[in-house]
Amino acid sequence: MTLARETLIDLWTRMIRIRRFEDRVAIIAANNEADGFLHTYSGQEAVAVGVLPLLNDGDAFTSTYRNHGHAIARNIPLDGLAGEVYGKANGVCRGKGGSMHVADQDFGMIGGMGIVAGGLPIATGAAYGYKYLGKDNVSAAFFGDGAVHQGAWHESLDFAALFQCPVIFVCENNLYAESTYIEYHLNAESISAMAAPYGIPAVQIDGMDVFAVRDAMEEAIERGRSGGGPSLIEAMTYRYGGQYEGDNQLYKPAKEVTWWREQDPLLRFRETVDGIIDAAELDAIDEQVQAEVTVAFDVAIAAPWPDVSELTTDVYAPLA
């Protein structure tokens, strides 16, 4: 383990924060305490936390409807995130976006997008912009295993390759697109194999191992910043929740669930740092994070609704 102790603690903190936040979201959903489609990220923590802390200020990324984990991995404050889940005035988007459209550009998070593969052209364009403007920033685009069939997916990789944009395409391959199993819909050997015709370097990695993700991301970022163009990372992972809360997941074999639960990214992290960091220390962080989550939701619940006048604001930016 070559990482500094404080980095390890930081990775753990972000991962456990995602898990505890989503635990709460699942309860809220089960109790019908919040509206809308809620897509939880539990199980996939190692991907967000392997990727996102490595972005610099000025870098950017696009996310999907399954974005809480991405927001938390970027240290977007939990109360604003909880507020957005409810649609409260304290939400990061003042409640206008909701759970599927969390965004905070101050943290590089262009935003959560509800259209499958819809964010990829935009992340690609951000990278194009960096290159044009002479900045050494990179962008990242998260997408799922189901997104590779979209025309937008193809056109993004195509554009990125043509103009050698420093964008990193991060596939969270959790084996399911809604209720559809990957072996049904994927024509290729793997998603990383699909990058070949574009000449985009691609790797398939263990997405339950935050260190493996981080290594792949470091390589991709290095490539991007040094003018080497786009990369694709296929992180094999698993979502514990349904497509959204309420999905009964009849399509998942029990054995598969058990196997992946044994790969739990938090568990794997504990194993890796065994002997370096005391379990009690990790537990203490967990407890502290749980308190944070409670406070965040308390704040959100107490927060006012946006004023109805906000319905018609923010449609157009004012002329300079």
Partner: protein, 343 residues
């Protein structure tokens, strides 16, 4: 024989009944059965989803994966494939999960489904049905709540259908499947659970014939899909105040039953159109313009439109509620017309 069915189940029944008698029909879409690739897990013939809203529930069990086809997430691919399949003798019914996703397959509808017959001199037709889900009020945010009726209605060559009751849903779906043209069939997500008396046997409702949801003599209110019900609520309030509203549900937007609307306005002299869509270049403007031309002589007061604002649809519950027209706004619009008449 009629029973009580909700819109979801009425649509399901229409699909089932027609599939039973016409083997050319296949259903295609994302997770319309569900569990594809996992038939080892699901008990034989069980669909684990049956569509996000359950409209295609249990059809897999009866018709199998040959006819209830889960696709990859590739709307251009499967909408285009439906067009091609229809040209060689099939009758595909495809689902675009949310109307908001129109942009991912719009070219296939705009330039192909709608135009092949005309461009090719009338020799072909494209008998497909594109089912899609409209509407706000589900807390689904800006990209899963739009209606976008006008984006289809503008396009010659497409037919556009949007039922507001279970009885209409079944009859219009059967007409849509049997129609030799591309039909966009819009289902409102907040109406799926609405009950109505629905005949058991198959029946069709012709396109281009509006339904008069309530008769009245003082003002005509045209409701667009879910807004038919909001208009009926408003009509009750108005009736208490001595104003009898006639509420019209066009049911199909292309073709539009111009005569029923014009006839009603001839009787009432007043027109209010209610739609949750954005206001610009919309169905309300379309209907208003129709009447401002052909029904002008009957009009006693300004034509009022009660619509969503020119903003994306917000997630936040109080904002979304404010986005959607409510009975009060309709009542106020009608009242303004009566005040106008007396000034």
């Amino acid at each position: 024989m009629t029973r009580t069915l909700n819109i979801k189940d009425a649509l399901n029944e229409a699909l089932r009944q027609e599939m039973e008698v016409d083997s050319r029909i296949v259903l295609m879409g994302e997770d319309i059965a569900g569990g594809a690739g996992r038939d080892d897990v699901n008990p034989e013939g069980t669909d684990c989803w049956g569509g996000v809203f359950g409209v295609t529930k249990d059809l897999l069990g009866q018709f199998g994966r040959e006819r209830v086809v889960d696709t990859a997430i590739a709307e251009t691919g499967f909408v285009g494939a439906a067009i091609g399949a229809s040209l060689v003798g099939m009758r595909p019914v495809v689902e675009i999960m949310f109307a908001d996703f129109i942009g991912t397959s719009y070219d296939q509808l705009l330039n192909h489904a709608a135009k092949l017959r005309y461009m090719y001199g009338g020799k072909v037709s494209v008998p497909i049905v594109v089912r899609t889900v409209t509407g706000a009020g589900f807390r689904a945010g800006a990209e899963h709540s739009q209606t976008l009726y006008s984006l289809y209605t503008h396009v010659p060559g497409l037919k556009v259908v949007a039922p507001s009751t279970a009885r209409d849903a079944k009859g219009l779906m059967l007409s849509a499947i049997r129609d030799p043209n591309p039909v966009i069939f819009m289902e409102h997500k907040r109406l799926y659970l609405l009950d109505d008396d629905v005949p058991e046997e198959p029946y069709t409702i012709p396109f281009g014939v509006a339904r008069i949801a309530r008769e009245g003599s003082d003002v005509t209110i045209v409701g667009v899909q879910k807004m038919v019900h909001t208009a009926l609520d408003a009509a009750k309030v108005l009736a208490e105040q001595g104003i009898e509203a006639e509420v019209i549900d066009p049911r199909t937007y292309s073709p539009l039953d111009e005569d029923t609307i014009l006839g009603s306005v001839e009787k009432t002299g007043r027109l209010v159109i209610v739609d949750e869509s954005h206001p610009r270049c919309s169905l309300p403007t379309d209907i208003s313009a129709l009447v401002a031309d052909k029904g002008f002589a009957s009009l006693r007061s300004p034509i009022k439109m009660v619509t969503g604002p020119h903003t994306p649809i917000p997630f936040s519950p109080p904002l979304e509620d404010a986005f959607i027209p409510d009975p009060d706004q309709i009542v106020a619009a009608v009242k303004s017309q009566f005040e106008y008449a007396t000034t």
